[in-house]
C-alpha cells in the first residue's frame, strides 16, 4: 500500500475513534441519570407489588372474576408481547437479544395454536418487526433513552384496554434488566391476567414474613369497602408501574450497553491505528532504502 493511502486510512480511523469516544462519554453521563431514576422507582414498585398481592389474597380467587380487569379469560387465544428495545442501535446485542427472545416466545406460542400480537417500544423493535411482517398493534417511539411516566401509561392504557375488551388474553413483557454497566439480562414478566402475573405467588413471597397471619384478615379495613374494587384500581396501576420500571431499566441498560460497545470500538480503533502506523513506517522505510540503493547503484556505475 502506498504511504498516502495508509495516511488517509489512519485519518479516517482516528475520526471514528473520536466519535466512538464521544458516544462512550455521552452514554456514561446518561447512564448515571438513568440508573438513579431506575433505582428511585424500585422501592415504590416493590411496595405496590406487595400491596397488590395482599389485596389479591384478601379478595380471594372467586372475586377475581367479578371485575373485567381481574378476570382470567377462559381461553387464552391471543397473547400480547411487549418488546422493550431502544430507538438507536450501536449498543452491542442490546436490541437483538430482546427481539430474539420475543420471536422465540412467539414461535413457541404459535406452535401451541395461539395468536401473537406485538407491542414494540423503541424504533429498533418497530422497524425490525415491521420488516419481518409481524402484526404490530402498538408502537411507541422517541423516548427510550429517557422514558417518562406518561410513556409507560400510554402503553399500559392500551394493554389494559385490550385486555378488558377481550382483544388480548395475556400480556408478557420482554426487557433488558439492568445488572451493571457491563451486564444486561433479558427478563420476561407476565403482567396480565393477575392470576398469572408475577405478583401472585411470587418468589420473594417466601422471604418476607406474612403480615396478614399476625391478625385475622377480617380486621383489615378497606376503602373502598370491597377489596375487589380496590384491586380493579390497583391492577392498572401495577401494569403501569411495571412498564415504567421496564422502560427505565431498559434505558439504563441501553446506555450501559452502548458505553461498553463504544469503549470496545475505541479500543479496536486504537489497535487499527497502531497497526496502520507500523505499516506506514515500514513502507516509508522501504522507500528510503530503495532510494539509497538506487543512489549507491548509480554512484558505483560511474566509478
Amino acid at each position: 500500500m502506498a504511504q498516502s493511502d495508509v495516511k488517509a486510512r489512519i485519518g479516517s480511523v482516528q475520526n471514528i475513534r473520536k466519535i466512538t469516544r464521544a458516544m462512550e462519554m455521552v452514554s456514561a453521563a446518561r447512564l448515571r441519570k438513568a440508573e438513579d431514576r431506575a433505582s428511585s422507582l424500585r422501592p415504590y414498585a416493590d411496595a405496590l407489588r406487595r400491596m397488590t398481592r395482599q389485596a389479591a389474597a384478601a379478595a380471594g380467587a372467586g372475586e377475581l372474576q367479578s371485575q373485567p380487569v381481574l378476570r382470567t379469560h377462559e381461553q387464552e387465544n391471543t397473547v400480547g408481547l411487549v418488546l422493550v428495545t431502544a430507538d438507536r442501535g450501536l449498543a452491542g446485542a442490546f436490541n437483538s437479544q430482546i427481539l430474539r427472545a420475543g420471536l422465540n416466545r412467539a414461535a413457541e406460542l404459535e406452535s401451541e395454536g395461539k395468536k401473537v400480537v406485538f407491542y414494540a417500544s423503541g424504533r429498533r423493535g418497530v422497524s425490525s418487526l415491521t420488516f419481518r411482517n409481524k402484526e404490530l398493534t402498538g408502537q411507541y417511539t422517541g423516548f427510550t433513552d429517557a422514558p417518562k411516566a406518561s410513556n409507560a401509561s400510554d402503553i399500559a392504557d392500551d394493554l389494559v384496554a385490550g385486555f378488558v375488551d377481550d382483544k388480548i388474553d395475556r400480556v408478557e413483557v420482554f426487557y433488558n434488566s439492568y445488572v451493571s454497566p457491563l451486564v444486561q439480562e433479558v427478563r420476561q414478566e407476565t403482567l396480565l391476567p393477575l392470576a398469572a402475573a408475577s405478583v401472585v405467588g411470587d418468589d420473594d413471597a417466601a422471604e418476607e414474613p406474612e403480615e396478614e397471619t399476625t391478625g385475622p384478615k377480617a380486621m383489615v379495613e378497606y376503602e373502598p369497602d370491597d377489596p375487589a374494587e380496590l384491586l380493579a384500581e390497583l391492577v392498572p396501576e401495577f401494569v403501569q408501574v411495571s412498564l415504567l420500571r421496564a422502560l427505565l431499566e431498559s434505558a439504563a441498560s441501553e446506555h450501559g450497553a452502548r458505553m461498553t460497545a463504544m469503549r470496545n470500538a475505541s479500543e479496536n480503533a486504537a489497535d487499527v491505528i497502531k497497526n496502520l502506523t507500523l505499516a506506514m513506517n515500514r513502507a516509508r522505510q522501504a522507500d528510503i532504502t530503495q532510494e539509497i540503493m538506487e543512489i549507491v547503484a548509480g554512484a558505483e556505475a560511474l566509478n
Binding site: 384496554a161 378497606y222 373502598p224
Partner: protein
C-alpha cells in the same frame, strides 16, 4: 397537644418523599378525609387528589403536601405506608397549571367512547383534576 409518634413512609415513583416519625397523618381517601394516629386499625385504601399533612413529633411542625392520588396502607405492626402518584410541597401548588390540566382532562373525556376502558381512564383523570381545582378553592379561602 402531642400524640405518640409512629413510623411513616411516603413513596412516589420519583423516589422517597418522606420517611420518619410522625404523630398524625391527615389525608384524603375515596371515602373522604382520613386521619391516622398511632395504632390505627390495619387499612388498605385508595387515595384521592388533595392535601396530605404530616404532623411531625414534638414541636408540632406540619409538613404540608399535595397528593395527586395513590394508596395508603396501615400494616399490622402499625407502620404506615403511602404510595402516591405524585407529591409536592403545597407552596408549589399552581392554580393556573391545575386549571389547564382540568381543561385537558375534560377534552380527553369528551373524545373517549363511552363504555370503553379509555373512557373509564379519562373519567378518573377528570375526577383527579376536579379534586385538585377544589383543593385550590379551599386554599384560597384560608
Amino acid at each position: 397537644m402531642a400524640y405518640e409518634p409512629f413510623k411513616a413512609d411516603v413513596l412516589s415513583p420519583g423516589g422517597q418523599v418522606f420517611s420518619g416519625e410522625v404523630q398524625q397523618i391527615s389525608t384524603r381517601t375515596v371515602s373522604g378525609e382520613l386521619g391516622v394516629l398511632r395504632k390505627h386499625q390495619p387499612l388498605l385504601g385508595r387515595l384521592e387528589a388533595g392535601e396530605l399533612r404530616l404532623y411531625l413529633p414534638n414541636d408540632g411542625e406540619v409538613k404540608r403536601l399535595v397528593q395527586t392520588g395513590g394508596y395508603i396502607q396501615v400494616a399490622g405492626d402499625g407502620g404506615v405506608l403511602l404510595l402516591v402518584d405524585e407529591a409536592y410541597p403545597i407552596e408549589d401548588y399552581d392554580r393556573a397549571q391545575v386549571e389547564a390540566d382540568q381543561q385537558k382532562a375534560a377534552e380527553r373525556l369528551e373524545k373517549a367512547e363511552a363504555g370503553t376502558e379509555q373512557h373509564r381512564l379519562a373519567l378518573a383523570g377528570k375526577k383527579r383534576a376536579d379534586a385538585l381545582v377544589k383543593l385550590g378553592d379551599k386554599l384560597d379561602k384560608r
